[in-house]
Symmetry: C2
Subunit: 149 residues, 2 copies
DNA sequence: TTAATCTCTCTAGTAACTAGAGGTTCAAGG
DNA sequence: CCTTGAACCTCTAGTTACTAGAGAGATTAA
């Protein structure tokens, strides 16, 4: 039997986070003491560890919820879990591409600052570079990177 | 003179986003019409473009605010801008490392699902692997991914 | 002039927590 | 047994960077 604090320490999260997970239906204590305090068993610990691990890997709560229900529903789980992993892998790769571009850009910017003549700082100009085209009726479609990295 | 909609279209954002930027003090219209509608000039457009560009590169609003004030204050700007870019570059590189690990992990997971015997799905087990560090009082530096990717 | 399209403000919602107030319970020591 | 102090409880509100919608007023083209 673990208190919420022990569980929290084991999984490397804070107690409020566990309460939050409970509130959104990810994890529940096996019981409460007479006084109303939460008590967890090893299953609870494992579950929290799983959630934490998945979060640290960058999975969203929604995805974790999905994985958990897949795990509990032993009917046709594997294909679904596989699909989830794949989807997330795609997301991650897209993110990495964006970050790589960003890294190059920032390196350029920092470099510009290094080399720049003291008086004319290039950093801001560098940042402004590659900015959007001026207002123009031909609006077609500007691609927003939306859900930023 | 641009309306908020024209500005939005030019910069690839939605009007509410511009109002939001105004609310938090990033950008303001040069004037309002008699009827109270916002009007912007080319400076406004440039500023919004700058903000958008920086956001797309992953900079936080706080950092952008900093850069803007640096840009407006022509005293000792370059060192500061340089510092900001460097800081952000470090952040980005740390993020990329995490994402690389994540990518490997997910590839492994997806692979496990591919190869897995149909009955024993390895995905969930794979996710649970490499779980948390054991409970430990010296909890000083657990690196939480906090401000997620 | 009229209709269509914008725009206005305001409120509330999103993700994934974190922080704090004010009060209760638990476990250990005397 | 009783007290202390740490841990726990619930609840509200704040964070970041927006997005969505309601209901009303402004602008513009035909």
């Amino acid at each position: 039997m673990f208190s919420i604090g022990q569980l929290a320490k084991s999984a490397g999260v804070k107690p409020p986070t566990i309460r939050y997970y409970e509130e959104i239906g990810l994890i529940a204590p096996i019981e409460r003491t007479e006084g109303g305090q939460r008590r967890y068993d090893h299953d609870g610990l494992a579950r929290l560890a799983f959630i934490r691990q998945a979060r640290d890997l960058g999975l969203s709560i929604a995805m974790i919820r999905d994985l958990i229900s897949v795990g509990e529903n032993r009917d046709a789980p594997c294909a679904r879990a596989h699909e989830l992993a794949r989807t997330h892998l795609d997301l991650v790769r897209a993110r990495m591409l964006r970050l790589q571009k960003l890294e190059a850009e920032l390196a350029r910017i920092a470099g510009a600052a290094d080399e720049g003549v003291a008086e004319t700082c290039q950093v801001l100009a560098a940042l402004a570079d590659g900015a959007p085209s001026p207002p123009d009726a031909s609006d077609s479609g500007r691609i927003r990177s939306s859900k930023a990295a």
